[in-house]
């Protein structure tokens, strides 16, 4: 996006200032309650469920999710909702009903510590090191993205954005520890919802309502190349490809814009990846562990599931609205693209004319055009220019418009293009504050999870055991500062070496993919041994690396995108490759863990595993009425989720 920066007025700045004043104020108000390391890392286990529940949601809702979900909404349509209705919701309910009793009941202070209690030090060390490194890079990536965004949108200096935003997070986490992170996350949750809701409302009104959006998207689905959504000019989808969640999926990978099959979606995303994330990631589980009692801990993911179910309205719908507006002539809107500057246009025009004269092929034309203009192009539209003799006789102006029209969509710019279009002074400040809030909630979540895992699972476990509580409390505060500095380092790293960052994210995908198999077997099969779990995890991770090295998705070259050893299988899309990889890694980890557990001796007795494994834990006596039990609430939520799936079938 090279459009002119937006100017904020005094009103917008005062909204932003008020928000910053309150988040820092919460940190300072909580400072006097911080006395021990348990207060700082675990909130003294004293927070009610509605607070931990909203924090659970907010910690996961980083700025990248807001930007990315709107992007996917435009790119893939309503099928993006599967990340919520097939992915997150069932996993969150499973966490509440089946897993939380063991996390909370075992008195473990972190997820890696649970692994130590259940298995041994090896699984804990592997999990805590990979988790610690991962959280730093995750917060670095989103920090870089935010600073870049503010720089492009408002013209603020990249470095100042980076340091000021981190400093605010540092200040309130340092003062109030996990409690302060959780409390501000609740405030941020409301800020995000109330800041973006009017944008969606205005967008829907402008587009003419849901009925019109559906109608326009049907037109888009039958001519996707016109809108640069696909690069094959002959490609068409059924009219409901963007507005039905399941029908296009049942038609196979070629019938839906995601290029995905039913098995990969339901097993890969719905089971392996979602359960792996929501049920084992300490970033979210930590929020539930801070709840005041077992009931509150189990209700935490259930409280979160209610708004989560309707989040597609807030984050995915805007992308669909943007696409519908693009398909409505007279609205003066199109999906954002990078703009070819006046300085580059003559070279681009000359390049395409040259290609027509020399009868160059499509690949070399695209290459030379890209190097002349600095943009990427939709090959369908370039081919049209190339094959049409009128390209030579057209005026420079007409050709410039057609070349610009062929530039690929910048989907990540969708949400901000809507904010720009609909927000007057005042509302603009609110929407930007919401963006900032979503970023800060994510970063604070990463930092608090990092300082706990570092202090309890690495520092206390391996470096300095048997120190006083004051010492660990001090270490927690020091490592909060270190964690933020490391995130800033990771952000600069991300801004300089995009490729290295892609590789790091890939490695973490490998580590995460098999994780749920280990927890599932650990919690529900008492025979699982420490050796089985550890070797299973390592094999699962190696299996995903191997899978990646031997498969590739259509349109990619061997390299970072996979297939560099040998190409055994060409998958229809990146997403399909990702989901199949997870399914494969899970299966390998599961099988290896089972086989090795049967072959090795158990090191923990039934008595030691009490409270850690389902079959060895006495059933908790339920004190609440049947309708207030997590099991019942979970079933109700699941039914609502199924109904949502049917409505948008």
């Amino acid at each position: 996006m090279n459009q002119a920066a937006i100017h904020l007025s005094l009103v917008d700045y005062s909204i932003l200032g008020l928000y910053i004043f309150f988040v820092i104020g919460i940190g300072f108000a909580l400072k006097r309650h911080m006395k021990t390391s348990a207060d700082f890392f675990l909130s003294g286990r004293s927070i009610p469920a509605w607070v931990t529940g909203l924090a659970f949601l907010s910690a996961n809702l980083g700025a990248l999710e807001l930007v990315g979900m709107a992007a996917s909404g435009a790119k893939y349509g309503i099928a993006t909702c599967h990340f919520y209705w097939v992915g997150a919701i069932p996993a969150m309910i499973f966490l509440a009903v089946f897993m939380m009793p063991f996390y909370y009941g075992s008195k473990a202070r972190s997820v890696p510590e649970y692994l130590k209690l259940r298995f041994d030090e090896r699984a804990r060390a592997f999990n805590s090191v990979s988790f610690a490194v991962m959280t730093i890079f995750a917060s670095g990536i989103s920090l870089n993205a935010l600073a870049k965004l503010l720089n492009q949108l408002l013209g603020w200096d990249y470095n100042i954005c980076l340091w000021v935003c981190s400093f605010i997070v540092l200040l309130y986490v340092l003062k109030g520890g996990l409690t302060s992170a959780i409390y501000t996350e609740v405030l941020q949750f409301f800020m995000i919802v109330l800041g973006f809701a009017p944008v969606v409302f205005l967008g829907l009104k402008d587009a003419g309502g849901w009925g019109v959006v559906k109608e326009k998207l049907a037109g888009v689905a039958t001519h996707p190349a016109t809108f640069n959504l696909v690069s094959d000019p002959a490609k068409t989808f059924a009219p409901d490809a963007w507005t039905s969640a399941w029908v296009p999926l049942l038609g196979g990978p070629s019938a839906n814009p995601m290029g995905i099959d039913l098995f990969a979606m339901v097993f890969g995303l719905g089971f392996v990846l979602s359960f792996g994330y929501w049920c084992t990631n300490f970033l979210v589980v930590q929020r539930a562990m801070a709840a005041k009692d077992m009931t509150a801990a189990r209700n935490t993911p259930l409280v979160a599931a209610v708004p989560k179910m309707f989040f597609p309205l807030l984050v995915i719908l805007p992308g669909m609205i943007a696409l519908a507006l693009t398909a409505t002539p007279g609205k003066g809107y199109r999906l954002p693209q990078s703009i070819i500057t006046q300085a580059h246009l003559p070279a681009a025009i000359a390049s395409i004319r040259q290609s027509v004269v020399t009868h160059a092929d499509l690949a070399s034309t695209s290459r030379s055009l890209s190097s002349a203009s600095g943009a990427s192009f939709n090959r369908a539209k370039i081919e049209e220019l190339l094959r049409n003799p009128s390209t030579l006789s057209a005026s420079d102006e007409a050709l410039a418009i057609r070349i610009q029209d062929a530039v690929v969509n910048d989907y990540d710019g969708v949400i901000l293009s809507l904010v720009k279009r609909y927000c007057p002074t005042g509302l603009l400040g609110l929407a930007l504050t919401a963006l900032l809030a979503s970023f800060m909630s994510g970063m604070a979540g990463n930092v608090t999870a990092f300082n706990t895992v570092w202090t309890y699972d690495l520092y206390q476990a391996y470096i300095a055991p048997n120190k006083s509580d004051d010492h660990y409390y001090w270490m927690g505060r020091v490592v909060t500062i270190v964690g933020i500095l490391l995130s800033i380092g990771a952000a600069y790293f991300a801004s300089m070496w995009t490729n290295a960052m892609d590789i790091i994210q890939l490695v973490f995908a490998f580590v995460n993919a098999p994780l749920f198999a280990t927890f599932l077997l650990g919690m529900f099969w008492s025979r699982t041994t420490g050796t089985g779990a550890f070797v299973g995890l390592i094999s699962g991770t190696l299996a995903s690396a191997l899978f990646h090295a031997c498969t590739i998705s259509v349109g990619n070259l061997p390299g970072v995108k996979g297939g560099y050893l040998h190409n055994f299988w060409t998958l229809p899309s990146d997403m399909a490759q990702n989901f199949w990889l997870a399914s494969f890694a899970f299966t390998v980890c599961f099988a290896v863990t089972v086989i090795l557990s049967l072959a090795t001796r158990r090191t923990k007795s039934d008595e030691e595993l009490k409270g850690l494994v389902y079959s060895l834990t006495p059933r908790q006596i339920e004190l609440q009425a049947w309708y207030a039990r997590p099991e019942f609430i979970g079933i109700v939520l699941l039914v609502v989720c199924v109904i949502l799936n049917f409505i948008f079938w």
Binding site: L18, Y19, F22, A29, L427
Partner: protein, 66 residues
Amino acid sequence: MGLDIRFPIGMMFTLLGLILLGTGLFTDANAALRITPAININLIWGAVLFLFGALMWGSAVFGKNK
């Protein structure tokens, strides 16, 4: 945990609501945008935020459970 989070949330949104209401009442900020039909979104949304903030604040003052 010493602090009822409904207080700061209530206060913040009440104030944000007032700012937006003021902007909606005293300026014609919408004129710069091409929104049809023209609605004074600052006024409407300011009222929504104010009500939400007041509700939160009120429930913290009158509610006993934290």
